[in-house]
Amino acid sequence: MDVKEIIARAREENRRKLLEHEVYAICAHFGLPVPKHGLATNEDEAVEIANKVGYPVVLKIVSPDIAHKSDVGGVILNLTSDKDVREAYRKIMENVKARAPNARIAGILVQEMVPYGLEVIVGGTRDPTFGPVIMFGLGGIFVEVLKDVSFRIAPIKSIDAEEMIREIRAYRILEGYRGEPPRDLEAVKDIIVKTSKLMLELEDVQDIDLNPVMLYEKGRGAKIADARIILR
């Protein structure tokens, strides 16, 4: 799907929050490491996609009217067989029909289970004075409670990304701490710089959250596990 088309369709349908598969398509366009995935509109398609991305997979409801997917029983994790996928597909449809009967359904996203890593967050927002601003931090309590994050104004140059990473108080965790391995900082740097490019090129985007990004050992890269984009 073309990036401009995605945004145009969202505008047409009066949606500010993009759907998950749309977000992934945009991220992939900018070279960001999105998980393997596909949008299924029936059981057979779901199985086909699951085989393509490889087990285990997760199924998630895709709807412009559902903000919290888990609350309506719209997410089932760790599916390991075709049979599981068929059952999960039906279950999610039933759950949503019962708990959000009026929600428009775009389909069900079949996505590879992203292996666990150190959770980091990379985000972007648009400031009226400075334009796109990019954020980096560790996920979970580091961002929620301690607000241990760093910012730079786009365009983010390589040195800015390095400083952003080094600036957070939890930097030592990234370097490797008490048996935890050093993390792939080059991969984070790359994500930060590409997020900056995305924000600069897509003026329609108000906010982007890549949260969490699973960050692996040095040399093993990173993968986005969840993402959202809000249009202006």
């Binding site: 927002t125 400031d127 004075t129 994050v149 910012f151 104004i153």
Partner: protein, 461 residues
């Protein structure tokens, strides 16, 4: 890039709204211009007066017999547009609009019309809602603030009017020499970036201080400030440093990216040193405008008391500066006169029994030792010495050594210590009443070097 040459080097300045009545803004501006010694022509404009402060008055700008470069507009807001037309037709290049009653009170249209009109005549606008401007190399004081600012090398841009004018007075009290003061007000036309571009190239300015409420164009500000940082330090006090209430936003990033965080990021990328308070900003301005830059990282602290040394070491560490072993030559020199129990690590503790003479010798040796790159001198007022004598000893050591290295001093004590600080200030040796302030000011010098390096690398990539 705006060409501000004629604003800073005008042949003639007109003051519209000039008044004969002491206490009026239109009187004080003419008086300051005249008495501060502007060498070009000053033309008061007032249709009801023949003469103000011995200067011939004109009924309008267009009736002045020569073209004027700068028109200071000190009339009520509703009369400003007429003055702009008159000045524009007469060929003026800059309108310095003192009047308030524009955007700051919601009068957006009048302000936009002001700029449109001025631009129609090729005129640029400083203000409105300002207290004027100063440029000491041209002996211009076109403000209604204090008259006798001290000529020097610090350019001060203030977005706040009342605080700006108060700080203008404070520079005199603090002995800070000024190249320029720009009251930038509503920034309807010329903004921080325009002035930064000028001060970056201005040989009369070596440090820029900004009191900023908000940038007009963030990207342009970063660009101009970064270019300035490459040549000289930019220090900023940002109004509104705390986040009052989180922003409502649909994303994590949006809710965390408060105004403060964004300005901090922008300042970092531009190499701007962010001061937390007026006091801190002035402390840093002194350290950066009166000192050369250090040639290396070897900072030596000389003290006569352990406590002052610890306060300094802690403050330096807060700023990422960790003291190294003092160089050998210096240690050998100091050993010659201090008692054997003196601690000659860094801080070098010349002990509480140190007479004035030891200060002279220690500072002299530190200046002469090529491995010492910068010096903090601490003095706690003791029964056996007078702070003024210690100040004199430090001044003599600097003069006799014939080398300037970055140095900050703290004389800690009562009234006598304050007198000593005054003496050092007169010699442009930055001196402070507490060790923390001397340390923070020294740290600012090293912060500048780091900031400049960041900007250099950033602009290269």
């Amino acid at each position: 890039m705006a060409d501000l040459t004629k604003l800073f080097y005008p042949n003639a300045i007109a003051v519209v709204g000039a008044s004969r009545q002491p206490g009026k803004i239109g009187y004080t501006i003419v008086k300051n211009l005249k008495e501060f010694g502007f060498q070009g022509r000053i033309y008061p404009v007032n249709p009801n007066a023949n003469e103000i402060l011995g200067l011939k008055c004109y009924p309008s700008v267009s009736s002045i017999p020569e073209p004027v470069d700068v028109v200071v507009v000190s009339v009520p807001a509703q009369k400003v547009l007429d003055v702009i037309d008159d000045a524009g037709k007469a060929g003026a290049k800059f309108a310095v609009v003192i009047a308030s009653g524009f955007k700051e009170v919601g009068n957006v249209e009048l302000e936009e019309e002001l700029v449109r009109r001025a631009h129609k005549y090729g005129m640029r606008v400083l203000g409105p809602n300002i207290f004027g401007y100063v440029y000491t190399p041209s002996k211009i004081n076109a403000t209604f603030g204090p008259r006798d600012v001290i000529p020097g090398n610090v350019a001060f841009i203030s977005q706040s009017g009342a605080l700006g004018i108060a700080l203008m007075g404070m520079t005199i009290l603090e002995g800070i020499g000024i190249s320029a003061i720009i009251s930038i007000g509503n920034k309807s036309d010329l903004d921080d970036a325009d002035f930064l571009e000028f001060f970056a190239e201005d040989p009369n300015t070596s440090v820029v201080l900004i009191y900023m409420e908000g940038a007009k164009d963030g990207k342009r500000f970063i660009e101009a400030a970064a270019k300035t940082t490459l040549k000289k330090p930019v220090i900023a006090i940002k109004a509104g440093r705390t986040e009052v209430g989180a922003r409502a936003a649909a994303s994590h990033t949006g809710s965390l990216a408060g105004n403060v965080a964004i300005y901090e990021a922008a300042f970092k990328q531009a190499g701007v040193l962010m001061a937390r308070s007026v006091e801190e900003a002035f402390d840093w301005v002194k350290a950066l405008s009166w000192n050369p830059l250090p040639e290396g990282e070897n900072l030596v602290v000389i003290t006569n008391g352990g406590g002052a040394g610890v306060q300094t070491t802690d403050t330096l560490a807060d700023n990422g500066i960790y003291l190294k072993e003092p160089p050998k030559y210096l240690v050998e020199e100091v050993k010659k006169f201090v008692p054997p129990f003196a601690s000659l690590a860094n801080p070098i503790d010349i002990t509480g029994m140190a007479p004035v003479d030891w200060y002279y010798k220690a500072v002299y040796a530190a200046l002469k030792d090529p491995e010492v790159h910068s010096i903090i001198v601490l003095y706690c007022h003791t029964a056996i010495t007078h702070p003024v004598d210690v100040a004199k000893a430090i001044i003599d050591a600097v003069k006799d050594a014939g080398v300037r290295k970055p140095m900050t001093v703290s004389l800690i004590g009562g009234k006598e210590a304050y007198e000593g600080i005054q003496l050092l200030t007169k010699e442009r040796i930055p001196a402070y009443p507490t060790p923390e302030r001397a340390a923070s000011a020294m740290a600012a010098i090293y912060k500048y070097l780091k900031a400049r390096k960041y900007v250099e690398e950033r602009l290269k990539s």
